[in-house]
């Protein structure tokens, strides 16, 4: 008797959980976009048009004209989506790895600036054949990113300094050091505004798609994503990172080197953020302006959270976010809604995504409602 009642309950709970898991991302996306639309309705005179441009503005457009036949336009804009997605994927991975160890490192910004700076300095001042200089530039970027990433980790393990605060403070230091060096030592006197000289053409990353800045970094990206996944899922360090992230106390009891794991995970994140910086300096801009906008690191954070810190999901999250960002630029140009609404939407999506108990509650309600309706239908028949 007891068995007979327990089984359906268990089944129902399992089905409820499975449904909640599957629905989680779509529901969070829909809820975030819906809230964004409501906010746009509140302030805009043409919210529907703005919303449609936001959702479709980044796509290349296929259109027909009598003279030239079918044509694909706005490819440059789509190239911008890919450029953006590359930066965001690297930054997303940079945030995701320490987050898996439950280290809330927000230092991707500073690591990006220092990585770009280190790579540019080596490329500008080191003579030699291009492959040597380019690999040394990359090495310099990785090293500076690793050091700047591991430093807050060491401060945390040695002095219990909260990593959220230290990484943010180190960001300010790094960005100001970058501006100081670019406006003083590295400045190109013929540049017009404050900017470093152009990198030699042989050191700029080769372009894959004409008229855009989509470079070979795109080809390196799957490798980096795969390496990050491998690091997390198939190495000892990755295992330690995941265990420390789930329960540091347990990891300590089990004899894992918790402190080393903490700073190594943050250093590994720093390497990826520095590579994002090199993508910006050697791929996108070819030189470094003094007013390189700070704050990209936070968008990497959004990407990592959207992918729930799963490396293989990071590129897709980055692509989606870059797509929305480019659509938002188009929206800002042609309607009265400014592009920052994407930040609001993204923040809301993440809030809905991390609300663990919200969707099981909703899914439970939905299943109950369906069961009641099915019952009602049977009564009617």
């Amino acid at each position: 008797m007891k068995q007979a009642t327990a089984l359906p309950l268990q089944q129902r709970l399992q089905r409820q959980q499975a449904l909640a898991q599957r629905l989680r991302l779509p529901v969070a996306l829909a809820a975030g976009l819906g809230c964004g639309f409501l906010i746009m309705c509140a302030v805009s005179s043409e919210p529907l048009r703005a919303f449609l441009i936001l959702l479709t503005g980044a796509l290349p457009r296929l259109h027909w004209s009598a003279g030239e036949g079918w044509q694909l336009t706005r490819l440059v804009r789509f190239g911008a989506v890919i450029e953006d997605a590359i930066t965001l994927t690297l930054l997303g991975l940079a945030v995701a790895i320490p987050f898996r160890a439950r280290q809330f490192s927000l230092g991707a910004d500073g690591q990006l600036f220092l990585g770009a700076l280190a790579a540019t300095v080596v490329s500008l001042y080191l003579p030699g054949p291009w492959f040597v200089v380019l690999s040394l530039s990359m090495l310099a970027a990785c090293a500076s990113g690793f050091l700047w990433g591991a430093l807050p980790g060491l401060l945390k393990t040695r002095f219990q300094a909260n990593e959220i605060v230290t990484t943010l403070m180190l960001n300010i230091v790094a960005v100001q050091a970058y501006r100081w060096l670019v406006s003083g030592w590295l400045r190109d006197p013929a540049g017009g505004f404050i900017v470093t000289p152009f990198l030699p053409a042989s050191l700029q990353l080769p372009v894959l798609l004409v008229h855009t800045n989509v470079t070979v970094m795109l080809l390196a990206l799957p490798l980096l994503v795969w390496t990050s996944w491998l690091l997390l899922m198939r190495t000892t360090l990755g295992y330690e990172i995941r265990v420390v992230g789930q329960s540091a106390a347990f990891a300590l009891q089990a004899g894992l080197p918790v402190q080393r794991t903490v700073w190594l995970s943050m250093g590994a994140g720093g390497v990826l953020a520095a590579l994002a910086g090199m993508h910006i300096s050697h791929g996108l801009l070819k030189r470094l302006p003094v007013d390189l906008p700070a704050g990209l690191g936070y968008e990497g954070l959004l990407v990592a959270l959207l992918a729930r810190c799963e490396p293989r999901a990071v590129p897709w999250a980055a692509l989606m976010y870059a797509y929305l960002r480019t659509g938002a630029l188009a929206m800002e140009r042609s309607t009265d809604v400014s592009r920052e609404v994407v930040l609001v939407i993204q923040a809301l999506v993440i809030l809905f995504l991390v609300a663990e108990r919200m969707q099981p509650a909703l899914a439970g309600g939905w299943l109950r409602w369906r069961a009641r309706r099915a019952e009602g239908g049977r009564h009617d028949a």
């Binding site: 302030v43 809330f104 909260n162 959220i164 943010l168 100081w180 954070l301 809604v337 923040a347 809030l351």
Partner: protein, 323 residues
């Protein structure tokens, strides 16, 4: 000799108000961070709460002047300040609901809150004002300053309590100073305060003892929203008289740092906030002396890092001695 003493005391009396002015927003937000931390809810969203309060204070006062032109301008400022604080409390409530009801990770939700606040303020700013930078085109009323009369015969005291030119200190500066003993009273001498600390110290034990842990945490997050909101209002209606995008400039995180540096105690938090205020004043004073501005901007974060390291080393030393 007496002349020297006179000059030094005047300089010190002039320096302290400057430090207080710079420290007030950090102090208010840090007190908010402290109370939520004591209840076991680390509030990473202080920065966003301040930013939203600063924006809605300006927006509220402008709208109040638009809708209720009959009122004297001071009332517009008060209504704006109310709107700012309410906006911050609403956002804190959002954080509380997502964390306490729906199980969202508090730190991730707090970070999301900061992003939300940064996006929302710039979005509304550019849509409503038509300018992404600031509300400089709007005429913002400012909350009044409090001038203490009858101090003319003690110049140092007058300078200390009324600032330069005898204009008096901003009302919210006095509020921040007043909030310190009030918070102490709340935490030490009321049942609510004791319950609140118990909910942070050991939630299970507190719940077993019949303390409504969840309600205490709601309360703590709301109060932290209110205090951070007051800090934000001070920024846009006292420190400056307009809203700029990202005008908090990391002060919310400095407040968070102040809680850690102060080892989660009231006195320590207040002292750390003052230290951060002093480092901001020092960097502006050195800027007047002609140092490279980029190096000066590094000073407050470096001071914060050193303070965190010192606090950690001190804690470790104490743990070492007691073991």
């Amino acid at each position: 000799m007496t002349h020297d003493y006179w000059a030094w005391s005047m300089a010190a009396a002039a320096l302290l108000p400057a430090v207080l002015r710079a420290a007030t927003p950090i102090l208010l937000a840090a007190l908010g961070g402290l109370i939520s931390d004591l209840a076991g809810c680390i509030n990473v969203g202080l920065e966003g709460l301040m930013l939203v309060a600063a924006f809605f204070a300006v927006l509220g006062s402008v709208l109040a002047a638009y809708w209720l032109p009959g009122l004297p301008p001071v009332w517009h400022a008060w209504l704006g300040a109310l709107a700012g604080v309410l906006a911050a409390m609403l956002l804190a409530l959002l954080l509380a609901v997502f964390h306490l009801e729906w199980g969202a990770d508090l730190i991730v939700a707090g970070i999301a809150l900061n992003v939300l606040a940064a996006g929302l303020t710039v979005f509304l700013l550019s849509t409503l004002v038509g300018d992404k930078g600031s509300t400089a085109s709007l005429d913002t009323p400012v909350l009044p300053a409090l001038h203490l009369p009858g101090l003319q015969s003690w110049p140092q005291l007058d300078l200390l309590l009324n600032g330069e030119h005898g204009r008096g200190h901003h009302l919210l500066l006095w509020t921040a100073l007043l909030a310190i003993p009030l918070l102490r009273l709340l935490l030490r001498h009321t049942r609510t305060g004791v319950w609140l600390c118990a909910s942070g110290e050991h939630p299970q034990a507190a719940a077993e003892a019949g303390i409504p842990v969840k309600r205490m945490r709601y309360l703590a997050l709301l109060v932290s929203g209110m205090l951070a909101g007051l800090g934000g209002v001070y920024l846009s209606m006292g420190y400056l008289s307009l809203f700029q995008s990202d005008m908090t400039a990391g002060r919310g995180f400095l407040a968070l740092a102040a809680v850690f540096v102060g080892a989660r105690g009231l006195t320590g938090t207040v002292l750390a906030s003052l230290l951060f205020g002093a480092s901001a004043v020092l960097s502006t004073r050195l800027g007047a002396a002609g140092m490279a501005p980029q190096l000066l901007y590094m000073l407050p974060p470096v001071v914060t890092l050193l303070a965190l390291v010192a606090a950690g080393a001190r804690k470790q030393g104490r743990a070492h001695r007691s073991s």
